[in-house]
Each structure stands twice: as structure tokens, then as C-alpha cells.
Symmetry: C2
Subunit: 378 residues, 2 copies
């Protein structure tokens, strides 16, 4: 199997950029990544994006990147897998290189959301649920889904809303040190606990925001110091009613299991982690499903500060989706941006001890998709 390496990463400021076009953000991240990679000949482009068609009337993002950057008449495509679009796009880049068709691939992700109303974005996001499901017809939304899971988690464990708030606080504190993060204003546990309720028990700080932003990564079979040790992806039930266990997200568990198996490592070997915390509750479940902590005991690890930058399993040192921001198509790639910097020793909230193995997990839908990439400093 051909080895795949990271040659460059790029990322825009995440936030509200009403005056910047989606193309502008996308190209900005791409140019950064290409510059870092020494502007190599690029053989293909993949772009992760979710709602360019529905709320921005812009598709053909692959061709736009190739044309605007003068990359030549190379193959390009957009990849969609809801909020996992970015991670899945990276995986297509890895497979394209492993197929022997491409030596070097540019993968970018972008989303432009802040120009649209919350109602329009909510409607667009609901395209990540199955239209034919009773749940969608009944009006279930993503905060509603993860709110149900949170209540169930409280019921089955000793956890409470305070533990969710501790996740949100940790990620906010991390974001405060990340110059590219959307939310850098300090918050307190009390403020988070008392914030406006979105869906019981999830308050404003428990939910990832609408964000404009882009991120990019250059992958190549040529050797470099950061190796993509494994790439794994799984799907799972698209409806809550099909879950065997409300506190399990099979796509996360299975994508993690596969990624560890391929890499020949276990959760105990991972030095630094970026997880898909679309809600504080999602981070709680993901740290369990990925095997970092025992099932139904993630809340104890949170309470003990084990997922903090100074903990034994630092999670979301970028600030995560909750505070770095969640420009949907860009999210999976921005996770890798942070991890590449962690492995280089140049990250905001740099983890001590020269981390060698880093894991990114990107979720789509209510568990329809999960992608895990394990990066290694070589």
C-alpha cells in the first residue's frame, strides 16, 4: 500500500465573513496549503462542501479551484457526506493516491453560512436527515437528536448538565488561544450552565455555531514528516429509531476500530485528538466510542480534566466545533490542520512531550458517516 504524507495545510480565520465570497475563502486556504507544500504539481482536487448548492447557489467547487489556481485540466470533484464532507474528501484524496492515479492531491473544505438566516441554515442542515423518516417529518432537528441522547446519558450514568458544560468550557478555553477560532471570548461554567436553552438540556454553548471558513491540505506519496498512518470510514443508521443503543454511535465506533486496526495502534497510543463536537454531548459519546474512556464513563474523565490540553488525552485543543467553529465542509480538514501543527510542535495549545500520533474524527448526520484519520510524525 502506497504511503500518503501531508505536505501542507492552510486554514482561514473561522467566523462571520459576510463580505468574503465562498470562493475567496476556499482559495485562501488552498493557497496557504500549496505554498506550505512548495507549490507542487497537483494531480487532482477534492472539495468537501455541504450546502453550497442549497444556500449559496454554488457548486462545481472542484473546477473553480483548478481554474482559479491555474492547476491545469486536472480531475476535480466535490464530496458530500453532511458534516463529514471534509473528512470524506480527505479520504478520497488518500484513496486517489493509493490507487496510483495521483501523486499529489489538494483537498479543501469550505462552507459559507453566515449570510443566510438561521431558519434557512436549519432547513439546509436537515437535508442530512432522511426525508422519509418519521423523525424528520415530526420535526426532529439535530439539537433535538443530541438533546435526547444527553437526557438518556444523564439517566443511565451519573452525569449531569454540568459535565456537558465542562466540555464546552474546555473547548472555549482552548479556542481562546487559537487565533483562527470563531469564539475567543472567555466564558465561565456558570455562564455556560445558565445560557439560553436550545433543546433541553443543551444550551447555547453546548451547540456548535454557524460559521464561514475554509481549510485545505496537500497530500502526496512523496515522503514528508507527517504520515497519514490510517484512513477509515464507516456509515451508520440514519434514524434514531434504528439505534440499538441510544448511547452508541456505531459509525464512530466502527471507523475508530478500523483506523486503529489499519494503523496497528490502539486508543492508548494516541497523543492528541480532534473530535467532532457538534454538540458537547457528541464529544462525550465520541471519547467513549473511540475507546479513550470506558463506555458510560466519559463524564468522569471530563470531570477529572483528562481531556484538557494538560490532561493525558487532550481532545479538541483547537477549540473544537463548539468554539473554533463549524463551517461544515471545512470542519474535517480544520481538524487535521490543528493536528498537523500539534505533530510539528507549532500548535496553539501545543501538547507537551512531542506528540507522535494524532487522531481526527469527523461525523456526518446523526451518525450516518464517521471518518477517522490517524496522523503520525515520522
Amino acid at each position: 500500500m502506497t504511503n500518503v504524507y501531508v505536505h501542507g495545510v492552510g486554514m482561514t480565520q473561522f467566523g462571520t465573513f459576510v463580505d468574503r465570497t465562498m470562493k475567496d475563502l476556499l482559495l485562501d486556504a488552498c493557497i496557504q496549503a500549496l505554498n506550505e507544500a512548495g507549490n507542487p504539481k497537483v494531480d487532482a482536487v477534492y472539495v468537501g462542501n455541504f450546502m453550497g448548492g442549497s444556500i449559496y447557489n454554488q457548486e462545481i467547487l472542484g473546477a473553480i479551484v483548478a481554474n482559479e489556481l491555474g492547476l491545469g485540466f486536472i480531475p476535480t470533484a466535490k464530496v458530500e457526506g453532511a458534516c463529514a464532507s471534509g473528512g470524506i474528501a480527505v479520504r478520497q484524496g488518500v484513496l486517489g493516491i493509493q490507487s496510483g492515479e495521483y501523486e499529489t492531491v489538494l483537498v479543501a473544505g469550505v462552507e459559507k453560512m453566515k449570510h443566510a438566516s438561521t431558519a434557512d441554515v436549519t432547513q439546509a442542515i436537515n437535508a442530512a436527515m432522511d426525508n422519509d423518516s418519521n423523525e424528520k417529518r415530526a420535526g426532529l432537528t439535530f439539537p433535538g437528536f443530541f438533546g435526547v441522547l444527553a437526557n438518556r446519558y444523564f439517566y443511565e450514568t451519573g452525569a449531569s448538565k454540568k459535565h456537558l458544560a465542562m466540555v464546552a468550557l474546555k473547548n472555549r478555553e482552548n479556542a481562546m488561544q487559537n487565533p483562527l477560532a470563531q469564539f475567543r471570548k472567555p466564558a465561565t461554567l456558570e455562564e455556560i450552565m445558565e445560557a439560553r436553552m436550545i433543546t433541553n438540556p443543551l444550551g447555547l454553548f453546548d451547540c456548535s455555531p454557524m460559521t464561514d471558513g475554509a481549510a485545505a491540505i496537500v497530500l502526496s506519496s512523496k515522503k514528508s514528516p507527517v504520515h497519514v498512518r490510517s484512513s477509515a470510514q464507516s456509515s451508520g443508521p440514519t434514524q434514531m429509531q434504528d439505534a440499538d443503543d441510544l448511547l452508541s454511535i456505531p459509525a464512530i465506533k466502527e471507523s475508530g476500530r478500523l483506523a486503529y486496526e489499519k494503523a496497528g495502534v490502539g486508543p492508548e497510543d494516541i497523543d492528541v485528538v480532534e473530535i467532532h463536537d457538534c454538540f458537547s454531548m457528541t464529544e462525550m459519546l465520541a471519547i467513549e466510542e473511540l475507546g479513550f474512556f470506558a463506555k458510560r464513563e466519559g463524564w468522569k474523565a471530563i470531570e477529572e480534566g483528562r481531556t484538557k490540553v494538560i490532561g493525558d488525552k487532550p481532545v479538541n485543543t483547537s477549540g473544537g466545533l463548539l468554539s473554533r467553529g463549524h463551517p461544515i465542509g471545512a470542519t474535517g480538514i480544520s481538524q487535521l490542520y490543528q493536528l498537523v501543527h500539534q505533530l510539528r510542535g507549532t500548535a496553539p495549545n501545543q501538547v507537551e512531550g512531542n506528540p507522535r500520533l494524532a487522531l481526527a474524527q469527523n461525523l456526518g448526520g446523526t451518525g450516518s458517516y464517521s471518518v477517522v484519520h490517524i496522523l503520525e510524525r515520522v
Copy 2:
């Protein structure tokens, strides 16, 4: 390089299916293809789709297929490249198998358009133009674009509207024999020439319709009688103003050149062809760009009947986009459906002489994407 073979194909009736959901169409085509393939273990699913998000509020099609068909927690994704979404999805399936990650991949394409107004569909299709271009801002549409090319073609050659009508008539006559085609009503050259004008000189019969439909294909590294001899893709300018020559679509030419090079064959070796005739004018240019006829002389070949089923280079024996229909994400895969049947000797409008090599070309945008697959009977 791993060889990739076709194990099964499926396709729904193309037409107006207001009472069928997108999921229903999609699964119908998938089940047909899987049944034909003997219901193998599937390792990944790719779905080509363009406007599921914008006019149907349904994304996550990959996960929906895996879940509904009980394929397990396998990797899935949607692929978008405007009207080339289906062909690009097939290419991802080929690359996935060549990477060694997958043995068998299900690739499907679907579009649901007829429930929406023409205005909404036109708006959604315009997402395949660059928002930042003066052309899009000025109100250029796809019929407008190809209308300009047709007028230029008339100006530079001896062709006239009659030659476009001959393309449309040929494809209608082919569709009349294809039970899955959208338009099977006979038409005459006069009727086509005198039909309602859409954009001068393109009349109603020169423009592909809005269509509901789905198609699917099962690919595998296990040997079967139909071999994917080559897969090639290119991008090209996203704006008319960037064209060096209005009568050249570089993505088509380059994807063809690459496909021939990889297959070690030339245009003269191809026995039967499906081309992306989104407009009659597009077929005229594509038969030249793919090297079947000399530049600016395609109209003579049309006049001589050389692209008819009984001609020396049969093009669009299915009826093409113009009359078989153009459910965008499904189109590239429906081309392969027809060609697989041609190679098996079971196609409507079966070409005589046991065709051995077949070529499909799928276009996206005004030339932003082109994918070519060459299939071989082995």
C-alpha cells in the same frame, strides 16, 4: 494496476415520477444492479447527485443506500460535479478498487427534478456556473451558452440549424426503441426545426429535459465479461470568456485523449458511443473533440448518417440526454447502462457486429468537468 469489471447495471424508467421519492428511485436502480451482480458483499457506495440539497432537501444519499439495503457500516459518499456527477462517482468507485481498499463498489446516480418548477430547477442548475463570473451575473444560462456556441459553429462551418435537428431526430428515433427512455413519441425533422425556440438557434428538441430517474452499476476487481478498460477525467474553464476557442471544450478533448492513452486505443477503435448531448450542439462538438470526426466537420458526419445505429460510429443509441432524459446525477451511469448492454448484445438499438469497445463521455457545467470511460468486452 488492478483491473476493474462491471458486474451488474440497473436503471429505472426515466420520466416524470411525482409520486415516487428520490430514495425509491435510487434504491430501485441499486437493487437491479446488485441482483444482476448476484448480490455480492459491497465494500463502499458512491452516489452521484447534483440538486438533492437545493430542490429536494435530501443529502446523505450514500448512507441512505447503505442503510436501506442492509449493506452494513461501509464507507459511502455523495459525489458532485454538476451534470458529470454520475460519471465522476463511477470514477471514484474505480479509484477505490484500484487503491486496494475495496473489492466491490456500488455506484448509483439519481435526480428528482419534475416536482420542482422550471424556474427553481433553472436556478439550481445555475449553481454549475461560477457565481463570481460576469456571465452568470449577466443572466447567462446553459441554453444561452450552448446557443452562442451553435451560432459560432454555423458561422465557422457550413452547418445550419438543420444539422442540430438531425442530431435531435436521431436521438429521438433511438429513444423510441428504448423502453426506459423519457420521450418515445415520434418526431419529424420539420417538427424539430419549427419547435418553440428556447435560445436561438436551439429549439425545444435541441435541449435536454428535466427528468426523474436513477441508474446504478456494480464494479469489482473480480473478473467479469465487461472490463473498465480506462477511466479519465479532466476539468476546463468554468467561464465562456476564458475559452481560447468557442468551438473547443478542452475538458472533453483532454479526458478523451487521456482515456485513449490509458486504454492504448484510438477513436477509430471505438464501436459504440454514449455522449453528453445536453444540447444537440454539445453532441456536435463532442464527436469532434473525442476525435471521431475532424474538427468543424462533425456536421458532415451527421448529415451522412454516420452516428446513427447503422452508421460506422453509432452515438447515443439509448436516445441520449435529449430523448432518453437527463436526471442529472444518474446520466453518467445510465450511459454505462446502455453500453454494458451493447457489449452484451442485449441493448435496444443493438449495434451489429458484436461491439467490443464502448466509450461514455459525461460533461459537467459549461465544460468544467468531463469524464470518459472506455468499456471492453473481454
